[in-house]
């Protein structure tokens, strides 16, 4: 039983890594702009498609394709911030509804362009197997957990030690005060948006080779990522990390004792129960715009 | 029996004590000014008294009745009305609709009150079309429509230009003369509050520091120290 629990925890970490990758981008944007972009999942999917495109059509190098898709998604993110989210600043309902519109438009645009079938992205370099104890894991699995942990560490360092990072933190904490001390909050806005969508692209590019590239690939990570940031406390970066991992691990562990067709429900029920106990999430920060 | 009394109120936000053993009682109607430096706990006191925030400790009584922890709507029904520091009106409702929403007073009263503050010409306009100062007037006028017994105004003069300033002062005085009730007014503008209030309460670090007639409070060295310190 103990090994089973350990193994499932590891599986949960893996699934949770993907949720965290999605959640981090969303939570950064939420913190700074108070925008919850439901289209973050489809942007992850677009990142994977672009990575696939660059990898198979443009360059044979996975790394180059990954970097290109990150750059492309950052630009897309900045464009969306300008065109959609900035004009709707301060209007929670409209932002969410606009992002639902983006989901429909982007997802079906991808289907129209690439077709509904899944694409395979085989990256030979990442197809090796890594033994961990008696178990074996694909390198890409380990890579995803590793990269996610590296990104988390990097993001924390970035927020703490760089000028932009400090500006992002300041703007998240108190936009008015940030403006008063001369932080160009509008620039912080679009830069954060680009950074967030770039993170989504990274997530898509990372899970593409392990799984497949298909139009709905971002849906489940987005919903679970949302649950994760809610659980962790909206706007809290450490909260998003912890929340995403909790959802992933809960799901994996639940398969040991509960019927698996209710796996999603278990994850959501845990989210609702935790929220009922800690209405602002585990790392609850003050919720702005509450009324 | 006090009209309104708070006993030993305490409320912490994270590490900060917004209220720390605040005692205050008002025996009879009057215009009371509530002043104090930023962070003294004035708005938190309002929030506790109007049921927006639950205190960590202490009691709130109205006419001797313990109303601690009552939700805002119940306190409103018990005769407590308030205005907000950030000025709240229903932007899509017209001025008249704003006044009539949940009002105890009839429409004729609403129109009379609008006239008193020179807003009658906007009666049919949505509140969003008013200037900030006008919206502030509308908000304060609206609080009277509930025929409250206790009225808490949170920085009524903030952001109001001098012309409206006087209208506001006159309006409050008129209303008090018509029907004396308990006015508790948080205000940073000393000129405004000193002219209006019969008694001033000074708060500092979540508790009452001084209480007395305006001139006496102004002369108090402790108050001076609190403001400067």
């Amino acid at each position: 039983m103990l090994t089973a629990v350990l193994e499932q925890t590891l599986n949960g970490l893996m699934a949770g890594s993907i949720y965290v990758l999605v959640a981090l981008g969303m939570v950064l944007i939420y913190g700074v702009m108070h925008v919850l972009n439901f289209a973050h999942g489809v942007l992850l999917m677009v990142g994977a498609y672009l990575c696939h495109f660059f990898f198979t059509r443009l360059t044979g190098s996975y790394l180059a394709a990954l970097l290109l898709s990150i750059a492309a998604l950052a630009l897309i993110g900045i464009a969306l911030e300008r065109a959609v989210f900035r004009p709707l600043q301060g209007n929670l309902r409209s932002q969410v509804i606009a992002s639902l519109g983006l989901i429909l438009a982007i997802e079906h645009l991808v289907i129209a362009l690439w077709g509904p079938n899944a694409l395979q992205m085989r990256v030979p370099a990442t197809e090796a197997l890594v033994p961990i104890g008696a178990l074996r894991f694909p390198l890409q699995h380990v890579l995803i957990i590793g990269v996610t942990l590296a990104i988390i560490a990097g993001l924390f360092a970035f927020l703490k030690y760089t000028k932009l990072g400090t500006a992002i933190r300041a703007t998240s904490e108190d936009r008015q005060a940030a403006m008063v001390v001369g932080i160009p909050v509008e620039r912080v806005d679009w830069m954060t948006f680009g950074l967030g969508t770039a993170l989504a692209a990274l997530g898509g590019a990372l899970i593409g080779p392990l799984f497949l590239v298909f139009p709905q690939m971002g849906d489940a990570p987005m919903v679970k990522g949302l649950a994760g940031i809610l659980l962790g406390g909206m706007g809290s970066v450490p909260g998003a990390v912890v929340g995403g991992f909790i959802i992933g691990i809960t799901e994996a562990l639940s398969t040991l004792v509960l019927p698996t067709d209710y796996r999603d429900s278990v994850a959501f029920a845990v989210m609702v129960l935790i929220l009922l106990a800690w209405p602002r999430g585990l790392f609850g920060v003050r919720v702005r715009g509450e009324d | 029996m006090s009209l309104l009394a708070v006993e030993g109120l305490a409320k912490r936000y994270g590490g900060v004590a917004a209220l720390a053993g605040c005692h205050l009682a008002f025996e009879r109607p009057g215009v009371y000014g509530l002043i104090g430096p930023n962070g003294a706990g004035k708005t938190t006191l309002f929030d506790v008294v109007t049921g927006i925030v639950e205190p960590d400790a202490g009691r709130v009584r109205i006419d001797g009745r313990d109303v601690t922890g009552w939700p805002a709507y119940r306190l409103a029904a018990a005769g407590v009305a308030r205005s907000f520091q950030e000025c709240r009106v229903f932007p899509e409702f017209t001025c008249l609709e704003n006044l009539l929403f949940r009002a105890r007073a009839p429409e004729s009263e609403a129109r009379r009150l609008l006239r008193l503050v020179n807003l009658e010409k906007y009666a049919g306009e949505p509140a969003a079309s008013l200037s900030f100062g006008e919206r502030r007037l509308l908000e304060i006028v609206g609080t009277f429509m509930a025929r409250p017994r206790i009225l808490l105004l949170d920085e009524p003069a903030a952001g109001v230009n001098p012309a409206l300033f006087e209208v506001l002062q006159r309006f409050i005085r008129t209303m008090y003369d018509e029907r004396p009730l308990l006015f508790l007014i948080v205000e940073h503008n000393m000129e405004f509050i000193m002219a209006l209030a019969s008694e001033i309460v000074v708060m500092h670090q979540g508790a009452v520091l001084e209480r007395g007639a305006p001139h006496a409070v102004q002369a108090s060295p402790r108050v001076l120290e609190a403001y400067l310190g």
């Binding site: 289907i111 509904p116 849906d219 698996t260 | -």
Partner: protein
Amino acid sequence: MPSKLLAAAALALSAAFAWAQDRVAVGIVTSLSGPMAAPGKFQMNGFRLAEEEINAAGGFSVGGRKYLVELKAYDTRANPAEGASAMQRLATVDKVPVVLGELHSGVAAAEAAVAQDYQLPLILTIPTGPNLTEQGNRFLFRVNANNDQLTRALAEFIARQGWTPLAFIAWNNDAGRGGVNGMRKLLGEGKIGYVGYFNVGEVDFSAHVSNIRAGDARAVMLLMDEEPGSLAIKQVRDAGLKTQLVGTLAMGSDRFLKRLDAARLEGMVQYNAFPPNADVGSIRTFSERYRKKYGEEAHGFAAQSYDGLKLAVAAMQKAGKLEGRAIREALAGLQYDGVIGRIKFDAKGQAHPPVYVTQWCADGKRRILYPENLKADCGAG
């Protein structure tokens, strides 16, 4: 050279001639978008190939008149309301004499009700929900084997091999749940091991793989389509799990092999409505034509749909008129030898095509294990 030119001219001529011919619009309901779009593509491939062949052969005659067939396809997006609308439109606007297709059982049920309203035969080629043909709807026919039929063949085979307890990784949709429930009914609760459901769109099966490894299952059945199937097998094998694998008809093809490799597939068995490489004349010609047109190995869904359209045309010919009730009667009495085998509808409108069990060999080919009379070695399946 001249002969080629001549052939081209003849083709052009025949095309021009064909254009002048009357056309019969046949209704198609399928998923061009939505969660079932990927298998929907195979369905359309089958219909298109049949359409092309019928028309290239000069069409078919009904009541002494020659017709070409024309497909009128509507997207039902795995949504019952869209299915009912499409059916209504086909019945009353396009006034087609017969409708084929659909992938989703719930949508098919909505379409079947409309078909009955207008006495318009509806021929299903993919949905497997057994209760569809239990509603007493005389205008509903199903070419493909339903879940009970598929699992009956497989359950018999699995029981004989002693591959129980049987664990599952299954789509949490009508196909996956239907398969698990069917097996549970046939094998008995005690023979069922771990059941891991996942939602359409989920791709990480590691939690299920771990649980199967920890359990005592002798075999794992993968109830899903090609795309998740390839991922599941990869994840099972990469985790070092050597358990016997049992797949669905989506997993016994060369295309599937391309997604994986022979080493990971070796030994896996799957049921199949249609073994593309079987040494049967009709299968061979179909598979060749399919490969020529679409550049890949034929898919079972395509074969079922291909047969469906051919069958519908045969029924129209037999009925002698383009009228729903007459076509229904013709369908009910028809016996048709198609790519997937002999199709003959029972009183409920359900056909009983053979169900095959094939197994992957070490060299990436398949052998046929079941039914006994068609048993054949590597390269046949």
